[in-house]
Amino acid sequence: MINVSYINYHSKPKGSFLERIPPYVKLLLTFSVAVCVALLDSLMAQIFLLMYSIVLVGLSGVPVKRLLKRLMAVDGFVLMLWLTLPFSSEEGVTTATLITIRIHAAVLAFMALLQTTSMPEILQALCQLRFPSKLVALLHFTYRYIHVLAEEASRIHRSMALRGFEPSLNLRTFRAYGYLIGMLLLRSFVRSQRVYNAMLLRGFNGTYTFLTFKSRLSRPDFLKLAVLYALLVGCLMV
């Protein structure tokens, strides 16, 4: 039921070009691609964006296996669209085509740009982009404790299974799940108090100092980056 390895964070592919560029530049590029995908309505522009994303994936060095696995999950949704949209109106097929291209362009770009960025880099980039520090701290905490609590949840679930819990469609099952979630929330709350006290003892004063990552951008890399941005502007012209 809860698959912990499922939410394990990516190990980023080393040595690719996208891995080298500064995280905040990458974050801005991701956001720009997302906005372009959302705003441009013409089929040509979307096809261009899709090719752009494929180029990004090529530059990222994300393993093809991982890529296909993610696309499979997305294509379930796309399939559902194709089953409903063409029957609802005349432009159904056109809309479904456009959406399919859009979804793939967006997902490929997100994978290329975000899978090559580690979480500490993203936090640092958000700081540099002047996001509120409370928000960055919140992201840090949630990310950190998702893994801890997923393990906690599967521990509770395991102990339920050992005591003979077998899910079926009755009130007892729902009570068991309710208590599981309640227990998880309760433990998380108690844990948060402990964590906060420990942080206070270590001198937490509300500000965060993140490790800083220096970017190692050589001149050819810089040129490539400029070309990437120019291409994105180009798609606005299509």
Partner: protein, 200 residues
Amino acid sequence: MHISEGVLSLYPLTIGAVGAVVGIAAGLKKMEIDEVPRVGIVSAALFVSSLIHINIGPASVHLLLNGIGGLLLGMKLFPAYLVALFLQVLLFQFGGLAVLGVNICTMAISGLVGGRLGRCVIISGKPSWLGGAVAGGIGVVLATLFTALALAFSGEVFLITAKLVLIAHIPVVILESLIGAFIASFIYKMMPSLLGVDEK
């Protein structure tokens, strides 16, 4: 429940983004820095809980828990959902960055309303399970309505899809209010302060 990137048109996307920014600003204002660990860890717990798959017959459903989130976090649900949905983009490529605003609004506003109503029920002296059921049920009902509305506003092509979304979530409403009832009564028994009510 979230809408994928590339589906909605500009109009709902803009409304969603503006609504989300307002909500997040209000939520951050209410959140002191010493509350950050609590909000972060509780929303991590909600994130993990919403990954639990519950089998109903042949189908497997996962919970939204936005109503329970509203009950526990109040206005802070907005920044909590920003973080949770961003992490979903990051970890699973679910949703997307441009639709982030819409998804935050559908989940957080409905959760907030559900949570507030649930808390009113509990404070007025009714049994705690009723409050949990109200929070859970209304959270899902409103979230589904908002999602369907966002789809319907994106063009007539999506009317059938919007209707399907509404119908498909009827069992989830029942399930969510049942489980919400058990969660609330459990927490009320163990640690009523978490629900913001004093021990009697």
